[in-house]
Symmetry: C2
Subunit: 283 residues, 2 copies
Amino acid sequence: MRNSLFEVMNRQALIEQIQQKKSFLCIGLDVDITKIPTHLLAEEDPIFEFNKQLIDATHHLAVAYKPNTAFYEAYGIKGWKALEKTINYINENYPEIFTIADAKRGDIGNTSTMYAKAFFEDLNFDSVTVAPYMGSDSVEPFLAFENKTTILLALTSNKGGLDFQGLKTEHDELYKEVLKTAITWKNSENLMFVVGATKAEYFSTIRKIVPDHFLLVPGVGAQGGNLQDVCKYGLNKDCGLLINSSRGIIYAGKGEDFAIKAQKEAQKLQQEMAAILEVRSEK
Amino acid sequence: MRNSLFEVMNRQALIEQIQQKKSFLCIGLDVDITKIPTHLLAEEDPIFEFNKQLIDATHHLAVAYKPNTAFYEAYGIKGWKALEKTINYINENYPEIFTIADAKRGDIGNTSTMYAKAFFEDLNFDSVTVAPYMGSDSVEPFLAFENKTTILLALTSNKGGLDFQGLKTEHDELYKEVLKTAITWKNSENLMFVVGATKAEYFSTIRKIVPDHFLLVPGVGAQGGNLQDVCKYGLNKDCGLLINSSRGIIYAGKGEDFAIKAQKEAQKLQQEMAAILEVRSEK
């Protein structure tokens, strides 16, 4: 499935895509079958059909798609097939798109290698999200893959995010320790970090630790984050942000025109992003 | 697939199984297709065939099986099918066995609910391992399932385990904060904890925080942990330990007699466990 364009997919290709599309929008494909338009339920694979129409309608407005694997695993083998068809559809039709398996994996070394194979080789995603709790040797197996990106959880946007991430350690809060430590790991140039948008005030501190890395920012929209605030503190010279929106886009419509409605929501965000990038380039 | 015996599967059923089998052995089904006997490769589903023969040969010596999902996901849909067939085989033939999906999941609330459905409902595992980094609302959706157990990572046995778990926070090391906080969560009686066996000296401290919970202990055998040390500090009045061994058992033989060789290794551990339980009951 790997297409020649994918061979050069890396940070530079992502930056070029952002410049061309004037967008740093990532669309979260978190597909709950009870929330999709009912007319799709007659399809052989409703989840894939839903994704396909969404992707066709929004691929020029977004630079990345992020299926959350939980929503596919919940439907067992059928769900895994829908995930496989979705990633193949993107890779075949829109090879410029940066793909993220939002899987939040992480295990001891040999096991993390198996997860990396699952997402980087078998499914051919460009990146996967990984949890840091088990430390260096649980993350480095992912980082060892060339032209693949590992997106490490740092500060998450959920209510309980600060339960542990906000704990003050001897030097600093845990999420800062995670950032500081992770950038010392082998192949750390292949890292991005998840930073929740509900904590815009944290972005300036985070940028002092990781000025150059891309940050994947969930939580804009349904989770209450504000795009302007995030950009004010989070943008870097290469943009350096991927802003994810899921429910606000993919469930914008319930009828046969759901993809058009999703496109309109995506376009609103893209236009806001274009304006932010414009102002920034004038500085 | 759910059998009436499973409806009462809970802590008490596990304790009774431990008493009857004089064993607290969990066998890790971490199946790497490059390591299984070559004669199985001619089978339609070599991974399932491998598991089936192992389970048939060891079910009277072990109280739990723990497939690590990474090893199945790495083979895509075929792997997921092998996982599904394996859990169904155990549930149908050995319903007394406690089953663990070693998946190390964890995400924001609605997403964790999807993972819980995947493992507790679709696949019908008794328990799943979960990572704590995202805090309370990433774990509580798992805990909400009745008659299901959530096994939270506390202290892991890998080299990098202490990178973050060992960080000193304002009150205590992170892994202790995780234990102390987790037992305050809703339905925390449905928790077990992962505690690595390479750190036997930590067990006495951990037992002060969680005297009654079961601990799942990987790292005996291939990872270097010592069973006697773990039991000395980790046993409680209900046993309270599940000791996992994977590679040391499942790859004990390479030939057509691999299941017999695995049985012998499992039996060695079971006998050691029986002796430990015997000594303890005499006290």
